[in-house]
Every structure is written in structure tokens, then in C-alpha cells.
């Protein structure tokens, strides 16, 4: 070190800094591999993969048309969808009941629009059973909500109704404290 003059010393420090920065970049590149992936059929019959939404927070909602709480969950998801941009958040509602066809899903969406004036305008799809088999919780209940971060890592899982932000005043106190989606999404978007 004694023999290194000032200009060389500066060059050495500069190289070290560049090396540290580059290491960080390489690490970032490694992290950018999408952690979870699955495919499903959308309402047009196209195959969609989860990793297509890389860089966005993705909510995956497992549901079925016969499930009353799943219908309530749709209203909460609508509120969630409206409060974030499409660059930030995407929602995928996957029907897990193999008895229910794409036509059933379209009828369900139309009924929501007609009777409740709620336009369910996010991505809907039909699962052939493989996605649910992989992601269902031990108790196998619906609605089940997954929040995936921008890199496809599971950030949050919840079985049962998850509210957007406000818990209804008439929520029975003896029942389990409900989950809120907004704080979970904000953690990923604004951390």
C-alpha cells in the first residue's frame, strides 16, 4: 500500500466501487427469476402464464360460482382493482370447480353486471385442477387469496373473505379477525 501513489489509490477505490455495484446488479438479475409459475385458460380460450405478469403484484383468487362468500369477495376485489394502476396490480380469478365451464364464468360475470352493476373487469380463468392441487391449503376452502410479489414469490395467503381495507361495522366480534388486502399490497409497492 505504501508503494501505491495517490492516483493509483483512487483508481483502486473506483474499481472496488464498480465491482460492488456490479455484484449488486448480478444479484438483482438472479433475483429477477420468477419464483412461482402456473398456466390456466382465460375466457377467450388462450393459455395464460402467471409469469407474464412479472413486475406487477398479482392477486390470485380461487373461487367457484356456487360459493356465496366468493361472490362477496368479488366486490372486495373490485375495490382493490380500482385503487391501483394496471402497472402496479393485476388480479386473476381462477375457477376451481371442474363442473363449471367458461360459459358459467361468463354468465356469472354478466349477472354481476346486470344485478349489482359491478363490472368484474379483471382476468378470469378456468383451472383444470392442476393449479388448485398445487396451491390449495390444507383445509381446501374457497375463497383462497394469494398475493404474489413482483418476482412471483408468495407474499400473503388467506382462506376466507379478505377485505380491501375497511372492515364492515357489523362484522361479528366473536368471529376471526378478518384480513385486509391493502396493507399487504402496499407493503410490496411502497416498501
Amino acid at each position: 500500500v505504501r508503494y501505491i501513489n495517490n492516483s493509483n489509490r483512487i483508481t483502486l477505490i473506483f474499481i472496488i466501487i464498480i465491482f460492488i455495484l456490479l455484484t449488486g446488479c448480478i444479484q438483482e438479475t438472479n433475483n429477477s427469476a420468477y419464483a412461482n409459475n402456473f398456466s390456466f385458460t382465460d375466457l377467450k380460450g388462450d393459455t395464460i402464464e402467471l409469469q407474464e405478469y412479472k413486475g406487477k403484484v398479482v392477486i390470485v383468487d380461487f373461487w367457484a360460482a356456487w360459493c356465496g362468500p366468493c361472490q362477496y369477495q368479488m366486490i372486495e376485489l373490485k375495490m382493490t382493482y380500482e385503487n391501483y394502476s394496471r402497472e402496479q396490480l393485476e388480479i386473476i380469478s381462477l375457477n376451481i370447480d371442474e363442473r363449471e365451464s367458461i360459459d358459467t364464468i361468463i354468465d356469472f360475470i354478466n349477472a354481476f353486471d346486470q344485478y349489482l352493476n359491478v363490472n368484474l373487469d379483471w382476468i378470469f380463468g378456468n383451472d383444470d385442477g392442476t393449479v388448485w392441487e398445487k396451491y390449495k391449503l390444507e383445509t381446501e376452502g374457497i375463497p383462497t387469496i394469494y398475493i404474489f410479489d413482483q418476482n412471483g414469490n408468495v407474499h400473503f395467503v388467506h382462506e376466507g373473505i379478505a377485505f380491501y381495507d375497511t372492515i364492515p361495522e357489523d362484522w361479528p366480534p366473536h368471529q376471526a379477525p378478518p384480513e385486509r388486502l391493502k396493507p399487504k399490497i402496499d407493503e410490496l409497492l411502497y416498501k
Binding site: A64, W66, C67, G68, P69, C70, Q71, Y72, Q73, D97, R99, D107, A111, T139, E140, G141, I142, P143, T144, E159, G160, I161, H174, Q175, A176
Partner: protein, 201 residues
């Protein structure tokens, strides 16, 4: 129309040239009003007819009122409507606390002698996940499908542990009457014998 005639008389009296034009306008507006009323009436009748044709669920009876898990449940629904061809009942076994549903039954309801629709299901959940039942009716009438579901259509299951304990106690009482008493009496006898032995020493 009467109003127009009166107007004519009024105009003739004052020899008004424009009276006929005014009258025609009045006739037209009068006819317009009549046609409007007629259209509204027809629309009302049409709407009422449509409403009357839609099936409605007047009452639902669940037997037993609070069924136990894995037991049989009979659902009787009083449904009014014209040309009902099929009613499919969907029953979900749910957890009212979290709002998650776990099991689902799709059954076709049959018309019984009382003129109500009936179906029987056997509850499936054996893992203690559910505490309530939710219902959804898909009614096919005149080729149209009507889905009926209300939040208030909920049945709570009998999952109280106290009932199970009570039943267990009752069973025990029936199977082993006085069993505990026998132990106490034996213990008393043994104690007496031991005390007597000690006195003798």
C-alpha cells in the same frame, strides 16, 4: 277532445281565423297524451307480466333445523313461478367465521305432494371445518335460468361440544351404571380392613 270543441266555440264566437289550427294542435297534443298513457299502461302490464313470470322463493324449511356434521338434511322450498322445468339446489358447507366454503352439493329438487320442492343431502365435512350451510337455487322456467341466493339463507350446524359431552355422559350412564360407586365402596372396605389390622397390632 271536449276541451277542443269548447275552444272552437270560443273561437267562432270571436271569429278567430287561427282557431282551426289551434284546435288541430290541441287534438294532436290530446292524442299524444292518450297514446303516451296507453304506452305507459302497456309497458306497466308487460313489466308486471315479466315480474309475475319470474320464479320466487317464498320459504325454505330445513329438517332438522340445526343439523349435525355428516348427517342427512332435508331441504324443502316453497317456490312460485310459471313453467318451472328444473330446480337445482346448490348447498355449500362453510365456516361462517372466516367466510370460507369447503364442500358443495348439487342436487335436483323434486316436486312433492304438498306442491313444494324437496331435496335431501348428506353433509360431508368430517374434519370440523364447517359450521353453517348456504343455499343457491338455479331455477329453469320457460327456458330461462334464474339464480336465487340470499345472505339470510343460512343454517347453522349443531357443533356444540356441550351436546357431545352430554350425549357421551348419557351413553356412559346407560352402559355402566354405578361403576364409580363400586370403586368408592371397595376403597372404603380396604381402608376399614387396614385400620382394623393396625388396631390389632
Amino acid at each position: 277532445m271536449n276541451y277542443c270543441i269548447n275552444k272552437n266555440i270560443y273561437n267562432q264566437k270571436y271569429d278567430n281565423v287561427l282557431s282551426n289550427i289551434v284546435c288541430k294542435k290541441e287534438v294532436i297534443s290530446d292524442m299524444k297524451i292518450r297514446y303516451t298513457i296507453l304506452i305507459i299502461l302497456m309497458l306497466c302490464i308487460f313489466t308486471v307480466n315479466i315480474t309475475a313470470a319470474e320464479p320466487t322463493i317464498n320459504n325454505i324449511i330445513i329438517i332438522p333445523e340445526n343439523p349435525k356434521p355428516e348427517s342427512s338434511v332435508t331441504i324443502i322450498a316453497d317456490i312460485s313461478g310459471e313453467n318451472i322445468s328444473e330446480i337445482i339446489l346448490s348447498v355449500s358447507e362453510c365456516d361462517a367465521g372466516t367466510g370460507a366454503c369447503f364442500e358443495n352439493h348439487h342436487v335436483t329438487m323434486t316436486l312433492n305432494q304438498q306442491g313444494t320442492y324437496q331435496a335431501e343431502i348428506t353433509l360431508r365435512d368430517s374434519r370440523g371445518r364447517t359450521d353453517s350451510l348456504e343455499y343457491q337455487f338455479t331455477i329453469t322456467a320457460d327456458g330461462e335460468e334464474y339464480i336465487r341466493s340470499e345472505e339470510s339463507w343460512k343454517t347453522y350446524l349443531d357443533i356444540s361440544p356441550s351436546n357431545e359431552n352430554n350425549q357421551g355422559d348419557e351413553d356412559k350412564t346407560n352402559d355402566t351404571p354405578g361403576f364409580e360407586l363400586l370403586i368408592v365402596i371397595t376403597a372404603l372396605f380396604v381402608s376399614l380392613i387396614l385400620l382394623k389390622k393396625r388396631d390389632r397390632r
